[in-house]
Amino acid sequence: MIRQGALQRFRSHGDRPAGWWAFIVHRISGVALALFLPVHFWALGRALEGEAALDGFLRWTENPGVKVAEWGLVVLLAAHLTGGLRVLALEFLPWRDWQKSLAAVAAGISLLVAVFFLLAVR
């Protein structure tokens, strides 16, 4: 009998395995980022027309709707990064359970350091 850990049960949702959700989020965020990328490059290319043109664009991004969309993009980027690291770990690392726990602890510490850093910068 295969014993299912508490974490594994928590990560599963209904009859969809957790891996399926990770796969879908990774895929959708990837497509969204690929669609956004040309727009991002075009916007930054406004600098070719001078600092004023770029500033004009940046003023437009002060719009609350654009701000929300920007945060959505940052979240998509972070999600795609996380999902990608998961794929690389699955494919390249023949990890044992204790090593996975160690990685989780390291990720937690990194996140804490990042949060403290962000609070300090303010």
Partner: protein
């Protein structure tokens, strides 16, 4: 009769060659996708940190241009970032198009190459605009 069998054999051999070439292409693209992912993972971490820093200190064209002009390392970093993204995105889109819409084969491959070239051109143009 034997001529017909011969031509069928040749066609089968040709199909096998074609399949082998596709498997090789897919394997090469898989490796390129992972190699670019390693580069992008590092770039995205730097990019996210820069985003947090930049919006806290006020996002203006002057601030962005000053940062990028401050060191050759910034344009160099963004050039690596753009090249890796231009490699990574079309390979992913090609795989998704094949799996979810059935769009595959030579036309799909050419479309993926076109997307990569377009991303590369747009990205390098933007860096040129910001760094020059």
């Amino acid at each position: 009769m034997s001529a017909a069998r011969g031509s069928a054999g040749a066609a089968a051999a040709q199909a096998a060659d074609f399949d082998r070439a596709r498997v090789r292409t897919d394997a090469a693209l898989w490796l390129l996708q992972r190699a670019s992912a390693f580069v992008l993972a590092a770039c995205v971490v730097v990019h996210l940190a820069t985003i947090f820093y930049a919006i806290r200190s006020g996002l203006t064209a002057a601030a962005i241009l000053a940062r990028i002009h401050s060191s050759i390392a910034w344009p160099a970093f963004y050039a690596v970032f753009v090249v890796a993204a231009a490699v990574h995105a079309p390979i992913g889109l090609r795989a998704i198009a094949a799996e979810w819409t059935g769009f595959r084969g030579r036309v799909a491959d050419l479309a993926a190459v076109a997307v990569g070239v377009a991303l590369l051109a747009l990205g390098l143009r933007a860096i040129w605009g910001l760094a020059a």
